[in-house]
């Protein structure tokens, strides 16, 4: 049993990301248990030197992991798995920051004077790192429906890779998603724009700028031969998938490109048809999957 941190988006707009991930993990013999009483990760890492209040939220979540160990709910398990790239990034950076600045940790612990202190024991993992630890050969052995012939381009964005202290892979040329896709039997299409910024929160105030980035990233993926793109970030997902509407307004020639969470393809390959959630994606991948002979049985 490993505690995992869902985050707000996985409980609302991206619930199919969560359900697919949990089932995939179970298939691989790992039970992820939802962190009790978790709160919002904080959503963005505050870089202001004296703005400590915005690091309280992520640290609270890390304290919950230590509390689980104290209460005996889990034993000597200080890993915390995050699924959302943003949550992973914020949680890990908060941990690193207070480890490097003991004075700040003391201030924050003092603010939470009626609660447990943060001991600094937690190691924040992204689900992809857990999968790498489980081993890609094991993932390959679990595959029931190889994604043969499906040309998939991994998209990392920034949160999993930058800054390099929090990177889950080589920040310049990451390969973890490619290894995963290979294990699933898919054809990996390398996109030179795989680590480009999707525009992040600019999507709130400048849709056009984000649409332009989406256009660049997805056009390049298609140029390289991709039929769909995978990501691990709900914000990248929104910008790459939902913003295709704005892309088409400006570039009428742009053809829709399905963007999926990597766990959806894992669920498909593992034969977990009821949790694939293909009916929830902004750009429907089902016609493509049908064409490739990868249709799921039932609703999704």
């Amino acid at each position: 049993m490993i505690p995992y941190f869902p985050g707000c988006t996985l409980k609302t707009k991206a619930d199919f990301f969560e359900t697919s991930a949990l089932r995939v993990a179970r298939c691989l013999g790992t039970e992820l248990i939802e962190l009790p009483r978790w709160n919002c990760c904080g959503t963005v890492t505050s870089l202001t030197s004296d703005d400590l209040i915005h690091h309280v939220a992520p640290l609270r979540d890390l304290i919950r992991v230590e509390d689980m160990n104290t209460s005996g709910e889990i034993y000597q398990e200080y890993r915390l798995v995050a699924l959302c790239s943003m949550c992973f990034h914020v949680l890990k950076r908060a941990h690193l920051r207070v480890m490097q600045n003991p004075g700040e940790l003391e201030k924050i612990n003092n603010l939470m004077y009626l609660e447990s202190d943060y001991q600094g024991k937690v190691s924040v993992l992204h689900f992809l790192e857990l999968l790498r630890d489980i081993g890609f050969p094991k993932i390959q052995r679990t595959v029931k429906r190889p994604l043969a012939g499906l040309r998939v381009s991994p998209y990392y964005g920034c949160l999993l890779l930058r800054p390099k202290e929090v990177a889950i892979d080589d920040p310049e040329d990451p390969a973890i998603l490619s290894h995963l896709l290979e294990a699933l039997g898919a054809e990996v299409i390398n996109n030179p724009f795989k680590t480009r910024c999707c525009g992040s929160y600019q999507t709130v105030c400048d849709k056009a700028a984000v649409a332009e980035l989406t256009f660049d990233i997805l056009s390049r993926a298609r140029q390289e031969g991709a039929e769909c793109v995978i990501t691990s970030c709900p914000l990248c997902m929104f910008n790459l998938a939902d913003r295709q509407k704005e892309v088409r307004e400006k570039h009428p020639e742009f053809e829709p490109m399905p963007v999926l969470y990597f766990t959806q393809l894992m669920a498909l390959a593992f034969g977990l048809d009821d949790v694939c959630g293909f009916d929830q994606n902004a750009v429907d991948a089902r016609p493509l999957l049908q064409e490739k002979g990868l249709s799921t049985r039932g609703a999704s």
């Binding site: 709160n39 904080g42 009626l114």
Partner: protein, 254 residues
């Protein structure tokens, strides 16, 4: 001719004293010095904050209600002697201490949106539609520390971000709407109004229907109790008292 000025406060003060303490001042052994709205008073040591304020001569038009810790009307803010932290509590549930500085909060001027729960969709986005301030929560836990009901206020605010109506409803079930959480929140979230909205939404759309209630409502609508109501409505005052007394003496309560 100049009319003699009557000090109303003094008269209320004198009239309140014995009523509040139940004994003469001369028989009271222990006294504490407190400040109410910045003015010094000496009051008997075991009064509640509300009693102390009345003992001092204030007549509470707002900021008081059930006097039993249930209604949430008597939000009070105080500072203990030598402490830098402001504390919040219910004035009727907290005893005065020597050196306390007190102030009553007559009303929490929190924003409360208008909504119609019958029209709203039962989905997470509706919480942020009416209470977008919830997204500003930095998990400082000030709300939880200020809650006189000892609710985990921050947890139910966080439940709102997760779209967890049931979590909010259960987490805030014992809320008395005093508003102290909203007054203390640095992100200026209106926790208690949000929770009330969520409880209403959960009650209407989320919680399972109770079969017993539905069947009883059906019976009422079919007129099962009409004869009984007509009989009671037709009784004289004496007969009604008699029926009431007998009913109170039976174990059956319905």
């Amino acid at each position: 001719m100049k009319k003699k000025k009557i000090d109303v406060m003094e008269r209320v003060r004198e009239a309140s004293k014995a009523v509040i303490t139940g004994v003469d001042d001369k028989d009271i052994e222990h006294w504490v010095d407190i400040h109410i709205m910045g003015k010094a008073y000496q009051v008997p040591a075991d009064l509640t904050i509300m009693q102390a304020i009345e003992y001092a001569g204030y007549r509470l038009m707002r900021s008081c209600g059930c006097r039993a810790g249930f209604c949430g009307a008597c939000s009070t803010i105080f500072r203990r002697k030598g402490e830098y932290k402001l504390q919040g509590a219910m004035a009727c549930q907290t005893r005065v201490e020597d050196g306390m500085m007190l102030v009553q909060i007559p009303f929490s001027p929190a924003e409360k949106p208008l909504y119609d729960i019958r029209e709203e969709k039962y989905e997470s986005s509706v919480l942020l539609k009416y209470f977008p301030d919830v997204a500003r929560c930095v998990s400082c836990n000030t709300c939880t520390k200020s809650c006189p009901q000892n609710l985990q206020v921050m947890d139910y605010v966080q439940a709102a971000l997760k779209g967890d109506f049931r979590g909010i409803a259960e987490g805030s079930f014992e809320c008395i709407q005093c508003g102290l959480c909203a007054i203390r929140c640095p992100a200026e979230i209106v926790q208690y109004h949000m929770a009330q909205f969520a409880r209403r939404m959960y009650g209407r759309h989320g919680s399972p229907r109770d079969k017993n209630v539905e069947s009883r409502v059906g019976e009422i609508e079919k007129g099962k109790f009409n004869d009984e109501f007509d009989r009671v409505m037709g009784l004289s005052e004496a007969e009604l008292k008699d029926v009431y007394t007998k009913q109170q003496n039976t174990r059956e309560v319905y």
